[in-house]
């Protein structure tokens, strides 16, 4: 009993500590490249993510791990094309990218009731992948697949498995209301930096950074 109580206490203290540090930059003297998890999604999500990656310096974000939902056929293909173009343009020397699929928490239109079970399944799969990857940076922009991954990344911070910085860019298609993923990550204070592309959202969610349209 004492052990359980102590563990819970330590967990809670760590949780508060991580929440306190969320959003606070940890400046390093000469930052090393950071292993990066990039979450892709169907519809405009992957296009928006590729657009963002094209302005980031790839030697800072390496090795890169791309994850897409198992039912999403096109996103990983687009990511491969992007990585190939980096090699082709000699932006990077060797290929340091890996491409993985994850079970989906919820299909578009799926009832929220059955989604509870599929989310649990997806979370277990996500845990397996995250233990393997242990990224230092997580980039995501809205698909439901990012929720289990971000929650686990946050838990890894609390438990002390791996410290990471979680960045969320809400989709350009979200003008007045956040997506469900965005709302969860915002309310739970899981993202270190939360970006929105329209001023209406920044007014509603003041902790978000308004960055204008990216597309």
């Amino acid at each position: 009993m004492a052990i359980i109580a102590t563990s819970v206490a330590i967990f809670l203290i760590r949780l508060l500590h991580v929440l306190y540090l969320t959003g606070k930059s940890r400046r390093l003297k000469s930052p090393q490249p950071l292993s990066t998890l990039i979450v892709l999604g169907s519809g405009g999500h992957t296009a928006e993510m590729m657009n963002l990656l094209s302005v980031l310096q790839m030697d800072r974000f390496t090795p890169r791990f791309y994850i897409a939902a198992a039912t999403d056929n096109m996103s990983l293909q687009k990511a491969r094309v992007f990585e190939d173009s980096l090699l082709h343009k000699k932006v990077i020397k060797g290929s340091s990218a890996q491409f993985m699929q994850i079970y989906r928490s919820r299909e578009v239109g799926q009832s929220y009731v059955t989604s509870v079970w599929t989310t649990l399944l997806a979370t277990t799969h996500a845990l397996w992948l995250m233990v393997k990857i242990r990224p230092q940076v997580v980039l995501c922009n809205g698909p439901g697949t990012c929720i289990p991954l971000c929650v686990i990344a946050f838990l890894f911070k609390v438990i002390g498995i791996r410290w990471s910085s979680i960045f969320y860019v809400e989709s350009i298609a979200r003008v007045k209301r956040l997506s469900l993923s965005g709302l969860l990550l915002y309310k739970l204070c899981i993202a270190d930096q939360f970006f929105v592309q329209w001023p209406q959202l920044q007014r509603k969610y003041p902790r978000a950074h308004y960055v204008g349209c990216l597309m």
């Binding site: 519809g43 928006e48 963002l52 980031l56 860019v169 003008v175 930096q193 970006f195 204008g212 990216l214």
Partner: protein, 177 residues
């Protein structure tokens, strides 16, 4: 010397539903009144990309005095079709919208009312308010085509992801470029 360059005489209306099924839009595009209005405005071809939809529009080579109609389900990249179009009618997917706007093509976005939780209409309405495109529902498409003044549309300035990159780099302690 060949005949006239038929490509330059073509004024193509390209209708796209992306990877979705949007029969309501394809059906209304296939109606006489829409085809008559497009023909009246000088369009010669209507090319319909119908995606996962099941409604098959009637194809025509234009022998009935109306614009020619052709259709297909998917293409690996609709960029070529967008480039050769004089007018684009698209579902409200952000990918289609921005791909079209970045090419500087006049655009009518049609919102699918059958979708649950239709957040897509927010984007279409916002861009319509900013006069970058026209926004319609399947039932109002004809009206919008009748009343549209494409010259009044404002060009869309492509966005820029570098502000986000800067913030991310600073947060991680990387030096500014």
């Amino acid at each position: 010397m060949g005949g006239t360059d038929s490509v330059s005489l073509k004024r193509i209306v390209f209708l796209t539903v992306g990877t979705t099924s949007f029969d309501a839009l394809v059906k209304v595009a296939d109606t006489l009144e829409v085809k008559q209005e497009l023909t009246r405005r000088g369009y010669t071809h209507l090319l319909i990309q119908m995606g996962r939809g099941t409604y098959l529009p009637a194809e025509s080579i234009g022998e009935d005095g109306l614009l020619a109609v052709d259709c297909f389900t998917f293409s690996s990249s609709i960029a070529d079709h967008l480039s050769s179009a004089s007018l684009v009618i698209s579902h409200a997917g952000s990918g289609s919208i921005f791909e079209t706007l970045r090419l500087g093509k006049p655009l009518i976005v049609v919102v699918n009312e059958d979708l649950m939780d239709n957040h897509q209409s927010e984007l279409a309405e916002e861009l319509a308010d900013r006069k970058h495109l026209y926004c319609a529902h399947p039932q109002s498409l004809h009206q919008v085509i009748v009343g549209m003044d494409l010259k009044s549309l404002l060009p869309y300035q492509p966005g820029d992801a570098t502000p986000v990159a800067k913030l991310i780099n600073r947060f991680l302690g990387f030096p500014d470029d």
